[in-house]
């Protein structure tokens, strides 16, 4: 319990959490089940190169997503790189993407020989704004990357239709929408393809890993070939151009696939635990003016994975988002600003990118904080964080004075690598 402002960790008190809390899911299957599964791989001496566990995982993911093809990969980033390279037909160009999103995406586009073209997002869903996308389309456009957020996949059909109209492939980064639905169907069968992650911090823990889903037979054939160096003997018979496809090693290995397979089996329980934590946040943060927990869609209409808890801090809260960030980070809550700064104003924006003015993105990027979530966060931890908000709210003026006198407090927040 914090009684005086000196008790706040930022001012020298002991932190709320002795061990810093993560923002990753870190779902963990039973170790005995895991060992039994990988023992089979060891006995066969089959640890990678499209082994039986990877193939089983692909089949299971297809049926879970209700999609025709799943191509398992070493990680999601490599999947995005492969798709962007394929859609570009090997020519330099631009990939349209939101700026209010994951910092890896502009790098990924450049590995594929493309320049990111940042567009604005919708105020409510935080997914790409169709008008902004439309205004960004040019003869340089090689593909459009929609990003499905934890709170909404966005206007998936509208974006796909826009792509069809302009004859530009539309695909989705659905990492944060794993287990979430669009118009009642689980994400996985929309656009030309969707990319998901099997990273330990995401819904399905495969240590590292990722996969692409698609209903397009030719595209699936190309990706399977591309992930294994596009070796001439493996070349699929396809009706679409493929002479530009650049091979890579993006194979998922059996030890990662085994983890993902078991983690997928437990995903319903994972989502239930996430929902409990989300409800605990909703309860603990209720009634604070200026602190709004971003809601999930109505569960009667759409499925959600409830993995993330993100709050908006608006002008009616006595402290700024950045001040809350430094205070809470000191407490051992590994709290990040959510998608801030926006990519077009960050180190991640390449100099050759078209300069953009994105008013909604710029407004949103200053407002959000990502709260600790995942299996290492208990309901009691969440209640304790709620009490912390209560304390801050009651002592806001004194904290503000103390922060103002402490110049270090204005140092910009730094994102750190958390497990």
């Amino acid at each position: 319990m914090k009684r005086r402002i000196e008790d706040l960790a930022f001012f020298g008190g002991s932190p709320l959490y002795a061990d810093p809390k993560p923002i990753g899911q870190l779902a963990m299957p039973d170790v005995e089940e895991y060992l039994a599964l990988i023992k089979q791989a060891f006995d066969k001496r089959r640890l990678t190169n499209g082994g039986p566990i990877v193939r089983e995982l692909e089949v299971r993911l297809c049926s879970w997503h209700g999609v025709k093809h799943c191509v398992a990969l070493a990680n999601a980033g490599l999947g995005l790189i492969m798709l962007m390279q394929h859609f570009s037909k090997g020519q330099p160009g631009e990939v349209i993407m939101p700026s209010f999103t994951y910092r890896g995406l502009p790098h990924i586009a450049q590995w594929a020989g493309q320049t990111p073209r940042f567009c604005d997002v919708d105020k409510k869903t935080h997914t790409v704004d169709l008008n902004s996308v439309k205004n960004s389309i040019s003869e340089k456009t090689t593909s459009i990357l929609g990003v499905c957020n934890f709170n909404s996949p966005g206007d998936v059909e509208g974006l796909s239709e826009l792509g069809r109209h302009h004859d530009v492939p539309v695909f989705f980064d659905s990492v944060d929408g794993t287990g979430s639905s669009y118009k009642g169907s689980l994400l996985g069968s929309f656009g030309e393809a969707e990319v998901f992650s099997l990273h330990a911090t995401k819904m399905i823990n495969g240590f590292e890993g990722g996969y692409v889903t698609t209903n397009n037979d030719d595209l699936a054939g190309i990706l399977r070939w591309q992930r294994n160096f596009a070796i001439p003997v493996g070349k699929p018979t396809v009706k679409i151009p493929s002479s530009h496809v650049l091979g890579i090693n993006a194979k998922l290995n059996e030890l990662h696939a085994a983890m993902a397979l078991l983690s997928l089996s437990g995903i319903d329980e994972t989502i239930l635990r996430n929902l409990e934590r989300y409800e605990a946040y909703r309860h603990s943060l209720r009634g604070f003016r200026g602190v709004n927990l971003i809601p999930y869609p109505d569960p009667a209409v759409e499925k959600s994975n409830y993995r993330m808890a993100v709050i908006e801090i608006d002008e009616s809260w006595p402290l700024s988002r950045d001040e809350m960030h430094i205070l809470l980070q000191a407490e051992g809550a590994a709290i990040h600003p959510y998608y801030s700064p926006p990519l077009h104003r960050s180190d991640h924006c390449p100099p050759q990118a078209e300069p953009a003015s994105l008013p909604v993105t710029e407004m949103l990027a200053d407002r959000y904080l990502q709260l600790p979530v995942g299996e290492l966060v208990s309901l009691a931890d969440i209640r304790a964080l709620g009490e912390m908000f209560h304390f801050i709210s009651n002592n806001a003026q004194a904290i503000r004075r103390r922060l103002d006198s402490d110049k270090a407090a204005v140092a910009p927040p730094v994102a750190v690598d958390v497990k």
Binding site: L26, M28, V31, Y34, L35, I38, K39, F42, R45, L47, T48, N49, A74, N75, A76, G77, L78, I81, G90, Y102, R103, G104, H107, I108, Q110, W111, G113, H199, A200, T201, N205, F207, E208, F229, A230, I231, P232, S243, H244, V245, L246, G247, I248, N249, K251, N253, E254, L255, H256, M259, D347, L376, V414, A415, V416, D417, V418, K419
Partner: protein, 398 residues
Amino acid sequence: MKRHIEDFALLDGRPSFEEPQHVAQLNLPTWPRVEAAFRGIFDRRYFTNNGPLVCELDQKFAEFLGVNYAVSVTNGTVALMILAKSLDLTGEVIVPAFTFPATVQALSWAGLTPVFCDVDPHSHLIRVEDAEPLITSKTSGILGVHVWGQPCYPMELQELADRKGLTLFFDACHSVGCSLNGKLIGHFGSGEAFSFHATKVLNGVEGGSITTNDDQIGKRLRTIRGFYGKESCVPLRINGKMSEAQAAMALLSLEDLPANIAANKKKHERFESGLKRIPGIRLLEYDQANANNYQYIVIEIEPDKFGMTCDQLNMILKHENVITRRHFFPGVHRMQPYSQQTHAALPNTENLCERVMQLPLSATMQEQHIETLCQLIAETSAQAPELVEFMNKREAGA
């Protein structure tokens, strides 16, 4: 014994091997050690993102080589991509076509133009005289490949690179534990990329590492491999992170490395004595002055003397449950998207692509397996005319 051509499995004979024999090391640490390592990962609940085992591997692999930096990554291809990107190269990079496609693909992913270079017909490596004529005002680097773990003339190529103001770096994916004049591969050029694929002598399932002695490059490599590193001045980032599962395997495999190399060497000697009397077969012998890991049994076939081509021998062996590999066929210059590009004539490469293949050498192969395989190849050569006639007839009939 195959006395008549009917004894070959290609016809009706019994295969020489009950289980398929692969060109892959497939060295596995003992199960109790694997089990303990994975229980540790679950206890810590730390699965990836620069975890404790990855940090330990970075340190131990660097110590093993005696280099300043070793940076563990997803796989050997990603290692090459990150290395190529870290060196501030532009335009053209000279690279052999007699290599695995990933060597060249990594340059393309890094936005560079590969310029194909021929190799020495004997060692299969690029030499100064192969590379120098290809240097133009657009050239910024040379990517040498230590094919079969043989050092790719690093001293001579470094002298050339220095003289021409170019950056030299290496594909060392075959080369864990190999040396030149007592210095392990890992020290040469501006950086070297290793593979820890399960088929390699050091098994990190998939996995790889990049080594350098240069402080600035070393720090850059660490930053490029993830999206959250703290240094800001890097050309580009990627998710190239190795997981704790891969690092656990690689660490155990590193412990076993001396024993695995010793076992390979013994098997290699068996092949040497078993193959030496067969006409038209040359086993690539490693320079005894340098350490090698002996993970590859590389042979060159002279069809006139042996009696048939690489492809025909592969076909016969496949029926006997011997799964050979034709590395490197075709040359990368004949693969898309490079086949449309114009390039200098590569006569030695073309020749090697037709004649070079690898025989299985795996952890499960015993001495008598090697005897059996060498005898099978000798019998194939002895009965080559009849076997070739049979294959030709069957092909014409089909």
